[in-house]
């Protein structure tokens, strides 16, 4: 059985993404005054946000899927060649789009179109691959749900970019709210749920767990998304609160399964980077709960909600990815370099390819900077925002270097 992807393709995505992560955090650092003012809807922040979300998170997700879908779904990638073409178009499109958003928002649509073409090629690639899977399981549905949300996100993104260039489309703010929810909660959250069902048992060596909450988690979370997005269009406060509540319940179901998987694990001492991804799950649950509480108590201040979205993105999505990447890159490189040497000569274990101590320092710094940044912004202390966004940018740089180092062992 030869189901693995050539290592070059996932690595191309990952290396691009690491550069984008550093660029994004640097842009946000140079605009720390706007962060302090809670002004997120400005060109420079759009640029930083899309370097982070499209340039880093989406590109990592794509690279990881090229690697993981074949092994987890036991079906080869539909077309490797399309993969390379898709990488180049998406990388150029995303870079151009994010830069234009910052310097010439009126023309961002042109970069946006290229990015969208790349993303649609990716969606076709994944749908074709998944359709060939013989025995569909819950993971398949999570991934299909995520991909559908991804498609809707870029449709909404297109309308937004169109409006900035040409205007004429009503309900801009409603489209924006839907765009954000579909992008961060629909696409990323469903995707991380799906892959966690494979990765958490694998990294903790768990056996005999049930996954009995997977189906309820999937349907509940999707219903929550639909309720929340409908509430924007129908402008119905009650629907918005119930949307968040249902999302929280869906997330809790997922957490129940993860708890069972971990309780039945055989590997008692978990690797640090993986523990960080598990911590992100805890963050995700807490953020969903905070959203419900804010809605129930009628807190509607836009700055608070902007920072909650920030925490949703950083504390849950980005932290999950930061942790998993520390496992995925050594795995990719090991397979490339040592796969044919195992049994012939002494080869390192995956753990020997990374420096766990350094990873712990980095993960602590990430956590400290996100907490510091949020507190600085909520209490409006400029120096604190400056320092912690600076720390976040430097930590991102150190993180990127520490991952790239793996390729030299």
């Amino acid at each position: 059985m030869k189901s693995d992807t050539n290592v070059k393709l996932p690595l191309a995505f990952i290396i691009y993404a690491l550069i984008a992560l550093v660029v994004a955090q640097a842009i946000l650092f140079f605009n720390n005054d706007l962060l302090l003012a809670g002004q997120f809807r400005l060109p420079d922040i759009w640029m930083g946000a899309h370097f982070l979300l499209l340039g880093y998170a989406v590109m990592i997700a794509m690279g990881a899927m090229y690697q993981l879908v074949p092994v987890a779904f036991l079906t080869p990638i539909w077309s490797q060649k399309l993969g390379y073409i898709q990488f180049i178009i998406t990388a150029i499109g995303v870079t151009l789009f994010a830069i234009l958003l910052g310097v010439q928002p009126d023309n961002a649509i042109y970069g946006g179109i290229l990015a969208i073409i790349g993303i649609i090629m990716f969606i076709i690639q994944m749908v074709q691959t998944i359709l060939k899977q013989k025995n569909k399981n819950m993971m398949t549905y999570f991934v299909l749900g995520a991909i559908t949300s991804f498609f809707l996100t870029i449709v909404a993104g297109f309308l937004l970019a169109w409006n900035i260039s040409y205007g004429g489309i009503g309900s801009h703010n409603t489209i924006l709210a839907s765009h954000i929810v579909l992008g961060v909660a629909g696409w990323f959250t469903l995707l991380i749920f799906g892959f966690s069902y494979k990765l958490v048992p694998m990294f903790s060596l768990s056996h005999g767990f049930s996954m009995k909450w997977a189906k309820p988690a999937f349907f509940t979370y999707i219903i929550g998304l639909i309720l929340l997005i409908s509430s924007f269009w129908l402008d119905f406060m009650f629907l918005e609160t119930s949307g968040w509540l249902v999302l929280f319940i869906g997330f809790s179901f997922f957490v129940l399964d993860i708890k069972e998987i971990l309780a039945k694990r055989i590997k008692k001492k978990l690797d640090k980077p993986f523990t960080f991804s598990l911590l992100a799950i805890g963050n995700g649950l807490a953020i969903h709960l905070i959203a419900v509480l804010l809605k129930v108590t009628g807190v509607d201040h836009p700055t608070i909600w902007s920072w909650l979205i920030f925490l949703y993105v950083m504390g849950w999505i980005i932290f999950s990815i930061l942790g998993y990447l520390y496992k995925i890159v050594p795995f990719l490189w090991w397979t490339h370099k040592y796969s044919n040497k195992i049994g012939k000569e002494k080869v390192p274990t995956l753990k020997e390819m990374i420096n766990e101590k350094v990873s712990v320092v980095l993960f602590v710094l990430f956590t400290v900077s996100v907490i510091g940044l949020t507190l600085g912004a909520l209490f409006q202390i400029g120096a604190v925002v400056f320092i912690f966004q600076g720390l976040l940018a430097l930590t991102s740089l150190a993180y990127a270097v520490s991952i790239v180092r793996v390729l030299f062992v």
Binding site: M1, K2, S3, D4, Q67, L68, V71, A72, F73, L74, K198, P201, M202, L205, H207, G208, I266, K267, K268, K269, F331, W334, T335, Y338, S339, N340, I342, G343, K344, V347, P348, T349, L350, K351
Partner: protein
């Protein structure tokens, strides 16, 4: 030493790169068969179906066993039934994982 025993001993040197434990102690080897021409047939499993290390570990087994002088062809038969479970591990492996 019989060839079966030699093969078994060699397989203690094939290490699962994720866990850092050899595949014998993990209990992944279900059986070793040798025919009159000294061709070796190894029946084995992995801890999880769809394990990304699939190809690497089977190749590792082939490489290591082929290094034994008398061995003819090596064939690895990957089976999922019976499924691996933690009870198949040796006490040493359990100890290394902090399990049991």
């Amino acid at each position: 030493m019989s060839l079966e025993k030699k093969v078994g001993a060699a397989l203690f040197e094939v290490i699962d790169p994720e866990l850092g434990i050899n595949i014998m102690d993990l209990g992944l080897i279900y059986g070793i068969g040798v025919d009159i021409e000294d061709n070796v047939e190894i029946k084995m499993t992995l801890t999880t179906p769809g394990c990304p290390m699939h190809d690497s570990i089977t190749n590792g087994v082939k490489h290591r066993v082929s290094q034994i002088e008398e061995v003819g062809n090596v064939h690895v038969d990957m089976v999922w039934d019976p499924a691996w479970n933690p009870g198949k591990m040796s006490d040493k492996a359990k100890g290394m994982l902090g399990f049991g």
